[in-house]
């Protein structure tokens, strides 16, 4: 017993090092799987507070650009509104019309990264605003990512610029499905994999979300085809997608809440049993 104690005391630095390095290593390994460690993430009041302060100063620098993005979006929405056939003559109240399938919550990006293998954003909405894991995040132009961790006031978003992210997407013209991944090379390009060889592809075709998962509604913009190649097996295409969003300058985002998500998940859980 005495010898064990002596051994521990003599090598206390090395043992402490092994312990701490082991902890760090296990956290790193955990962070490489899909849903990451609950403790070490930037959705907490300390990091949120610091990033909030920085953001309140930094946001003034690109007000002009953000304004023009918002004006552009307003213009598009107004055009849509004016060109919708009028339905004012129907005055009856139908309670089913009021049950919205998706709600939208606006948020501000506090922190954004785009040069790591797995990138996360921190946004200023959390459990308080009824944000939960696996809600979709978009901008007026296209998709951004999926909510990962939430705290009371803040959330982290797993960006589409991440090795871990796989999002169901399809070609707008031919409805061929694939999954959107990222090869960590450029923040402007993502890859659409597993698209069937039967799909008709042209450079410049639009890629949108597929709507097969409960996270994103169908038809949210992702990007355009930049070029494509046949993958090693020869059965599927891998498409380089030029993203609509400039992922390097995100400021205002929208969180999509699918109001049916619990029902869908319950149903899927039943199937798995």
């Amino acid at each position: 017993m005495q010898q064990i104690f002596n051994f521990v005391i003599r090598n206390k630095t090395s043992l402490l090092f092994l312990l701490l390095f082991g902890i760090a290593l296990s956290m790193t390994i955990q962070s490489h799987s899909y849903h990451r460690s609950k403790f070490i993430n930037s959705a907490n009041s300390l990091t949120g507070g610091v990033y909030g302060t920085v953001n309140s100063i930094g946001q003034y620098f690109d007000l002009k650009e953000q304004n023009s993005i918002l004006v552009e979006e307003n213009k598009r929405l107004r055009e849509q509104l004016l060109n919708t056939p009028s339905t004012n003559d129907i005055t009856s109240i139908d309670s089913t019309l009021r049950d919205k399938r998706f709600s939208i919550i606006p948020a501000q990006v506090y922190k954004n990264s785009y040069n790591l293998p797995n990138n996360y954003l921190t946004i200023n909405r959390g459990k308080r605003d009824s944000i939960k894991q696996d809600f979709g995040v978009i901008t007026s132009k296209g998709i951004v990512g999926i909510i990962d961790n939430t705290s009371n006031k803040f959330s982290t978003v797993l960006s589409i610029l991440s090795k871990k992210s796989r999002i169901n997407a399809k070609l707008k013209s031919s409805n061929q499905n694939g999954s959107l991944t990222w090869n960590t090379k450029s923040p402007y390009l993502a890859q659409l994999e597993d698209v069937s060889q039967f799909a008709k592809l042209n450079i410049g075709d639009t890629i949108v979300t597929g709507g097969q998962s409960a996270i994103f509604p169908k038809g949210i913009g992702i990007g355009t085809v930049q070029n494509f190649s046949t993958d090693a097996t020869g059965d599927t295409y891998t498409i380089e997608v030029k993203l609509f969003n400039d992922m390097t300058t995100l400021q205002h985002v929208y969180i999509i809440k699918n109001n049916d998500i619990e029902e869908i998940q319950n149903l899927e859980a039943l199937n798995n049993e």
Partner: protein, 167 residues
């Protein structure tokens, strides 16, 4: 002694804040960011007890990880750097370190640069190994280590000299 404690505590928080608010948003050429928080580990007093040093380095790395959402990458690299520091100290300063009379604000520039360079290369190599976590991408890891280290070495040498001059 009190003075050392205060200056190291201040350095810990100032470097942490500078790292996460400024240095991680530089994105030189689109992706290069310096990791200047390792200055804390570089300049930690030589004659201090080592378990405390390891714990300080681990906590600093952990806080950086928390801000940057990087799992345990920086915590691991920092604690490893703190653990092997005596080897690099001995290599860079030789007898000065052997006789325990090493003071960081009375050093020659070339010795300092050698010390910073080796420490930075070691730290960044571990960071990118843990971050990419794929031995088959060793070329990418080495490339990133070199490019990021260059930026970190230049910036941290300048910062150390700048704050040394004021004393």
């Amino acid at each position: 002694m009190n003075n050392t404690l205060a200056s190291n505590t201040i350095r810990f928080f100032v470097l942490l804040l500078a790292q996460v608010t400024i240095c991680s948003n530089i994105n030189l050429l689109g992706y290069i960011n310096p990791y200047i928080y390792i200055i804390f580990i570089l300049l930690f007093p030589v004659k201090s007890n080592r378990p405390l040093f390891l714990l300080c380095a681990f906590n600093l790395g952990l806080l950086v990880d928390m801000f940057l959402d990087s799992g345990g990458v920086h915590a691991g690299a920092s604690v490893a750097l703190a653990f092997v520091r005596p080897i690099f100290l001995k290599y860079a300063f030789g007898t000065l370190y052997d006789h325990q009379i090493l003071k960081f604000n009375k050093l020659q520039l070339n010795e300092l640069v050698i010390y910073i360079s080796f420490m930075t290369l070691f730290h960044h190599f571990i960071v990118f190994n843990l971050e990419i976590f794929n031995i088959f991408q060793i070329l990418l890891i080495l490339k990133k280590t070199l490019v990021f280290s260059l930026f970190t070495v230049v910036l941290s040498t300048l910062l150390i000299l700048l704050f040394k001059a004021r004393k």
